[in-house]
C-alpha cells in the first residue's frame, strides 16, 4: 500500500492561498503589517496610550505656563476598564478570537475542508482519530483535521456575530432615536412595529427564512452565501429590544435642558440627535451591541446545529451537528466546538458587563 505523504504546507504557500482566496493584494498586507510593527516598536506603549486619547496630557498656554489638559472621556473609560481584571481577561479573549478569525489561514496546520489526513493513518491521521501530536484535536468522521476546523470556525462565528449586531444596531438605533425624538404618530408606528417584532417566534422565523432562501424556489436567492443569509435574518429580527431601549433613553435626554439649549442655539433636529442625544446614550448601546454579538454567535451555532448550515462552510454549530453520530466514541468532536462557542460567548458577555461598568457615567470621578 502506498503511503500518501502529507507534510505541513509551507508558510508562504499558505499565505498565497489565503491571498488568492480572499482576493487581497499581497503587498498591501505586508505593507500594513510592517507599518503596524514600526509604529509599535517606535513608540512602544505610548502608541497604545495615544490610542485612548491620553495624547496631549499637558498643554502649553500662550503665556508659557504648563497645564494639565483634562483627560478625554475615553481615557477615563479606559482607566476604569483597565482596573477591572475580568474586563482585561475577557477583552484579551475577544481580541485573540478576532485575531484567530483573521489569521486562521496562516495559523492552521492543515486545510479545514481537505481530507488529506484521512490517508495519513500512519502518522495519527485517518477517520475519527484521537488527538495526537500531529493532529492536536484529532480528525473528524470524514478525516478532516479538527484543530484546523476549530480555528477556521471562528471566522463564521465572529462575522455572523459582529455583522448581525451592527445590522441590529443600525436598525434599532435609527428607529429608536426617531421614535423617541419625534414622538407622536412616528413613535406610535415604530413602537407598534417593534412590538410586532418582539412577538415573533424568532427561531421559527429564522428557520423558515433560512430554508426559504436556501432551498426555496427562487434561484437568485440561493446565490447568497449562507453566512450572509444568517446575518440578515439575525439583524432584521433582533433589533426590537434595542429600539425600545434607545427610544426610552432618547425621550429621557430629550427633556434635559442642554437639548433645549442646543435647539435655542439654532441646531437642527439631525444635529441634536447625532451630536447631543446619541453620544449621551452611547454607553447602553455599546453594551447591548456587545451582548448582541454573543447572541448572534449563539444563534448562528443553533441554526447550523439544527441543520440549516451548508456542509461546505466550516462553523462550530455545523461541527457539533456532524459530531452527533460519533458522540459515543468521540465526544471530543462535539465537545471542542461546544467549548469554543461557550468561551467566545462568555467572553463577549463579560466584555459587555465590563463595558457597562466602565462606561457608567455615574461612576465618573
Amino acid at each position: 500500500m502506498q503511503r500518501i505523504k502529507t507534510t505541513r504546507v509551507p508558510f508562504t504557500a499558505k499565505l498565497d492561498k489565503y491571498m488568492s482566496e480572499h482576493r487581497l493584494p499581497k503587498s498591501m498586507i505586508w505593507a500594513g503589517f510592517l507599518v503596524i510593527c514600526a509604529y509599535y516598536i517606535n513608540d512602544g506603549f505610548t502608541a497604545i496610550k495615544r490610542l485612548f486619547g491620553a495624547k496631549e496630557t499637558i498643554i502649553i498656554a500662550k503665556d508659557g505656563t504648563l497645564r494639565e489638559r483634562s483627560p478625554s472621556q475615553w481615557s477615563l473609560v479606559w482607566k476604569r476598564y483597565s482596573k477591572n481584571k475580568v474586563a482585561i481577561l475577557s477583552g484579551a479573549l475577544v481580541l485573540i478570537t478576532i485575531l484567530i478569525a483573521i489569521l486562521y489561514p496562516i495559523l492552521m496546520p492543515f486545510g479545514p475542508v481537505g481530507i488529506e489526513p484521512l490517508f495519513d493513518a500512519w502518522n495519527g491521521g485517518g477517520s475519527t482519530t484521537r488527538p495526537n501530536m500531529k493532529y492536536p484535536a484529532g480528525t473528524d468522521i470524514l478525516g478532516r483535521d479538527e484543530f484546523s476546523r476549530l480555528l477556521a470556525g471562528s471566522e463564521v462565528s465572529l462575522t455572523v456575530g459582529i455583522f448581525s449586531s451592527i445590522l441590529s444596531l443600525l436598525i434599532g438605533v435609527t428607529l429608536g432615536a426617531l421614535a423617541g425624538y419625534y414622538r407622536g404618530w412616528t413613535e406610535e408606528v415604530i413602537m407598534r412595529v417593534t412590538d410586532m417584532f418582539l412577538a415573533l417566534p424568532f427561531l421559527v422565523i429564522a428557520i423558515l427564512a433560512v430554508s426559504f432562501i436556501q432551498r426555496g424556489t427562487l434561484d437568485f436567492l440561493k446565490q447568497i452565501p449562507q453566512s450572509i443569509v444568517i446575518i440578515i435574518v439575525l439583524g432584521v429580527f433582533g433589533w426590537a429590544g434595542l429600539c425600545r431601549l434607545v427610544a426610552a433613553n432618547t425621550k429621557q435626554i430629550y427633556n434635559l435642558d442642554y437639548v433645549n439649549a442646543a435647539r435655542v442655539l439654532g441646531a437642527s433636529n439631525k444635529r441634536i440627535i447625532m451630536s447631543h442625544i446619541l453620544p449621551n446614550i452611547m454607553a447602553p448601546i455599546i453594551v447591548l451591541g456587545t451582548l448582541f454579538i454573543a447572541g448572534g454567535i449563539l444563534s448562528e451555532a443553533g441554526l447550523t446545529f439544527l441543520g440549516l448550515g451548508s456542509p461546505t462552510t466550516v462553523s462550530w454549530g455545523q461541527m457539533v451537528n456532524e459530531a452527533q453520530t460519533e458522540l459515543k466514541h468521540n465526544p471530543e468532536l462535539a465537545l471542542l466546538p461546544g467549548f469554543a462557542i461557550f468561551f467566545v460567548v462568555l467572553a463577549f458577555n463579560l466584555l459587555g458587563d465590563a463595558l457597562r461598568d466602565a462606561l457608567d457615567p455615574r461612576l465618573r470621578e
Binding site: T65, S70, N260, V264, L265, G266, N280, P361
Partner: protein, 344 residues
C-alpha cells in the same frame, strides 16, 4: 412715524397645551413689546406663563404646545410664519436664551470649547481656530479667568456660577439683538446671583442688546430693567416703566405682590400673603383671572374680562376697578390720567 418700531412686538398671542386632562390655556392674549437695547422684566408667580412666553417666541414649545393665535413680530417678520429652517437661523443668532439651571444646560460629555464653538460654527463660516478665538474672548468678557486654558475643561469642572457665565458667553457669542434670560439666577447661591446679575447688566449695556428678563424676583427687576410686565394667569395684568410700576402699582395683584415682600422697616410678625393659589389654567376662572383671590372683586370681575386701560404711552393696567383703588394718588395725576385715557 418718528418713533422707531420696536424690536419685538408680541400681539395678542394665545399659547395652549393639549394634555390628556384638557386644554391648558397657558397664554391668553398676551401683548407687549421690547424696544431695541431695552432691558424688560417679565414678572409673575410660578405657572403664570412667563417661561411659556419665552418659549413661544423662540418656538421651542413641547410637542403638545402650540401658539394658536396672535403675532410675534421680530424686526418686522412674524416669527410664527417662518419655516423651521428659517427659524433655526433666528435662534442663537438673532434671539438667544439663557436657561434657569446652569447645571443641566451644558452637555456633560463634551468639553466647553466644543460647546462654545458649536453655536459659532452653526451660524458663521469660520474655521475651528477662529471660532475658538471668539469663544475665548467671550469667556474672558464674562469674567472667567484663565479662559484660554479652562475652555478645554468639562462642564463638571466648573461651579454653578461659572457655568451660568459660560452659558451667558455662549448665548452672546454671536451678538444677538435680543436675549431672553429665563430666571438666570434662580438656581444660584445668593452671593453668586449678584455677580451673575452684574455680568448680565454689564454685557447688556456693552453690547446694547434688548433683554427679556424672566424672573419672580422683584429686586432683580428693579436692579436691571427699565420696563416691566406683570403676568398673572397667562395674561399681562400691568405694565409700564419699572420705577412707575414699583412706586405706583395699579393692579390689585401687583399691589398684593409688593405687599408680600418682607420689609425690615415695618414692624410685623407675619408675612402678608395673597390668599388662595395660582389658578389652574386647564379650567381658568372666567372674567378676570385674579378675581377669586382679589379683595376688590365685584360681580363684573367674574363675568367680563378686563380690557387693557392705557394710563400713558407705555403704561397700562387690566382691571375693572383700578380707578377705585387709587387711594394714594393725588387729584392732579388722576385728572391727567383721565385725559390720557380719553386721548387713547
Amino acid at each position: 412715524m418718528n418713533e422707531k418700531r420696536p424690536l419685538l412686538e408680541i400681539q395678542d398671542i394665545y399659547t395652549q397645551f393639549f394634555t390628556e386632562s384638557g386644554v391648558v390655556e397657558a397664554l391668553d392674549g398676551v401683548s407687549f413689546d421690547v424696544t431695541a437695547g431695552e432691558p424688560v422684566g417679565i414678572v409673575g408667580e410660578s405657572g403664570c406663563g412667563k417661561t411659556v412666553t419665552g418659549h413661544s417666541i423662540l418656538r421651542i414649545l413641547p410637542k403638545n404646545g402650540k401658539t394658536v393665535k396672535g403675532k410675534i413680530i421680530y424686526k418686522g417678520i412674524n416669527l410664527l410664519d417662518l419655516a423651521h429652517n428659517q427659524m433655526r437661523s433666528i435662534r442663537g443668532k438673532e434671539i438667544a436664551m439663557i436657561f434657569q439651571d446652569p447645571m443641566t444646560s451644558l452637555n456633560p460629555i463634551f468639553r466647553v470649547d466644543d460647546q462654545m464653538t458649536e453655536v459659532i460654527s452653526l451660524h458663521r463660516k469660520v474655521n475651528k481656530k477662529e471660532a475658538l478665538g471668539i469663544a475665548i474672548e467671550m469667556l474672558e468678557s464674562v469674567g472667567i479667568s484663565d479662559a484660554e486654558k479652562r475652555i478645554h475643561d468639562y462642564p463638571h469642572q466648573f461651579s454653578g456660577g461659572m457655568r451660568q457665565r459660560i452659558l451667558i458667553a455662549r448665548a452672546l457669542a454671536l451678538q444677538p439683538s435680543l436675549l431672553i434670560a429665563d430666571e438666570p439666577t434662580t438656581a444660584l447661591d445668593v452671593t453668586i446671583q449678584a455677580q451673575v446679575l452684574e455680568i448680565i447688566k454689564e454685557m447688556q449695556k456693552k453690547l446694547g442688546l434688548a433683554m427679556m428678563l424672566i424672573t419672580h424676583n422683584l429686586g432683580v427687576v428693579a436692579e436691571i430693567t427699565k420696563r416691566v410686565h406683570i403676568f398673572y394667569g397667562g395674561r399681562v395684568v400691568e405694565s409700564g416703566p419699572t420705577e412707575d410700576v414699583f412706586i405706583n402699582p395699579q393692579h390689585p395683584y401687583t399691589r398684593a405682590l409688593f405687599d408680600s415682600i418682607p420689609s425690615l422697616e415695618k414692624d410685623k410678625t407675619r408675612l402678608d400673603t395673597i390668599p388662595g393659589n395660582v389658578p389652574r389654567l386647564i379650567n381658568p376662572p372666567k372674567g378676570c383671572r385674579f378675581h377669586p383671590r382679589c379683595k376688590y372683586a365685584t360681580e363684573i370681575c367674574s363675568r367680563e374680562r378686563p380690557e387693557d386701560v392705557w394710563l400713558g404711552p407705555k403704561r397700562r393696567v387690566a382691571c375693572h376697578h383700578y380707578e377705585e383703588l387709587d387711594l394714594d394718588v393725588d387729584e392732579e395725576t388722576m385728572r391727567e390720567r383721565v385725559k390720557i385715557k380719553e386721548e387713547v
